[in-house]
Symmetry: C2
Subunit: 309 residues, 2 copies
């Protein structure tokens, strides 16, 4: 029994969370600390080791899994993550493995979430599915033949940077029309601001100091037409692009995770309709759209821990 | 040694070819017969068994692989193939296995070609690549983690039906803008006919009774500007769409096969340029575009045989 525990670590831009997890996906004990305030990755790892001390005295862990932005499974490195306090290439898996003396694997957040769903969540028993995180950006993990697709270099699964609208919106990556500029919390806010400027249609959004995906959600729940149309528009672009991804890997399900996914039917009724309308006939009425089964606040720890098995 | 031989069968709309192949990808003996002229699949299989008789007396085969249009690996069935003489669902792998008494696997032509390249050809040793056949249509096989992606239902890998141009050309599948309506032998001919109608630019194509991808190739080799532009246009659309597919599986190479691929640099200089221009930076200058290493006339037999190992 004691051997069947692993440590999951989720490194975020602001906070780092960790937990000891068993095979059933139960978090036995958890904690956290600030990611910021450490001058170097080595100092961060030393501080984390000290935080982990009590947990590791009481639990024998057989592996460590880390989820981190821009994490690469093959190299164990975090590469040029714009939202972390340290820049360049950070050999995070190696640093942690040296500090803790336990085999450590690392990947990016969306891949960790996909493995988490497969290990403990909505994708248990599935061999072919896509996980999509709808947060600030749009992340994705593709699973085929029961294995995560890392690709030749560990960077596969960037659905957020598939071109959804040719010559569309400018993306942070330097290109135009990437899916995540439309289908993400940031994307729907961007749509709202564009629409408010382009028309004088009435909307409660016009009177908000700061429009967020949550405030658009709230407005839609109150029947605000523009807010409802924003979800329809976002769902249309997401559904169209998913139809193309399905033609490549033919998944049995697409699992959604992240803040914007909380909009539920407001968004996914449109995703479903436009996905089906744009699917090649052999794929129609086969692909389920389902919500993550990982408990929201713990999902990142669970996803990271799943890597360690 | 005797055990290390398999039978590859390529079922085409007009002809069926077969050959006994060894581990090195050498065709020891081959033959063929008409696909047409048999009232039922069972009669076809009986005729094929009789043709194969002499080969199977002299060679002990350990498996049979079949490549066929609309072939499904999971079920061993050919489903609703528009170009075969028999319609509906044909349990071809089961029929053949019963007739020959040897374990038989079946998949579609493009998947067979991908496995052929991995077993004997340009993808030997590769774990992540895409095979694209540029023939009458555009077929594809995606390999990740060293395995072909069949998807949840055996129908993965339909890059030809990814929407390359939103609301673009009508496709035989009933939707608009599918990649294969542009990037295929049929697609480039369609572009030529559209352009000839839309302008009065001079071109030798204007005086051809029947425009084919080969006649466009020949015209381009003679410096005909419209023919050169047709390859540039076809290459642009193919390159853009490949950039999106790369963001999903991050292959180390894309391998091209089929008639239109013979155009070589006339086409692929443009594919390469537009692919790179449209790639997310992390994928740039990593993906090789390479031509099939399987000998043209035997490739279909080799691809089918590779399934049998």
């Amino acid at each position: 029994m004691m051997r069947e525990q692993v440590l999951g670590i989720d490194i975020g831009g602001t906070n780092t969370k960790f937990g000891i997890v068993n095979k059933r996906g139960e978090i036995l004990v958890s904690g956290g600390m600030a990611t910021t305030g450490h001058n170097t990755p080595a100092e961060f790892v030393a501080a984390l080791k000290s935080e982990l001390g009590p947990l590791l005295q009481n639990h024998h862990i057989s592996g460590v899994g880390i989820g981190a932005p821009n994490g690469n499974y093959y190299t164990g490195e975090i590469k040029f993550a714009p939202n972390l306090p340290w820049h360049g290439v950070i050999p995070m898996a190696a640093l942690m493995q040296e500090a803790l003396g336990v085999k450590t694997a690392l990947t990016n957040d969306a891949n960790a979430a996909a493995i988490g769903e497969m290990t403990y969540g909505a994708a248990k028993g599935m061999k072919d599915f896509i996980l999509v995180t709808l947060g600030t950006g749009l992340g994705s993990g593709f699973v085929a033949n029961g294995q995560l697709i890392y690709g030749s270099d560990g960077f596969a699964g960037e659905l957020g940077h598939v071109i959804a609208v040719r010559d569309g919106r400018m993306c942070g990556c330097g290109r135009k029309g990437c899916l995540e500029t439309y289908a993400s919390a940031t994307g729907i806010v961007r749509s709202a601001k564009e629409w408010l400027l382009a028309s004088d249609n009435k909307s409660v959004l016009r009177h908000q100091q700061e429009i967020t995906s949550e405030s658009i959600h709230a407005a839609a729940m109150e029947g605000d037409n523009m807010a409802l149309d924003l979800f329809a528009y976002t769902g249309k672009i997401l559904g169209q692009t998913l139809a193309d991804a399905i033609a490549i890997t033919s998944p049995e399900a697409i699992i959604f995770f992240g803040g914007l996914a909380n909009a539920g039917e407001l968004l996914f009724s449109h995703v479903q309709r436009h996905m089906e309308e744009n699917l090649l006939n052999i794929y129609q009425n086969k692909v389920s759209l389902i919500m993550s089964a990982l408990p929201g606040s713990d999902a990142a720890i669970l996803g990271a821990s799943a890597l360690a098995w």
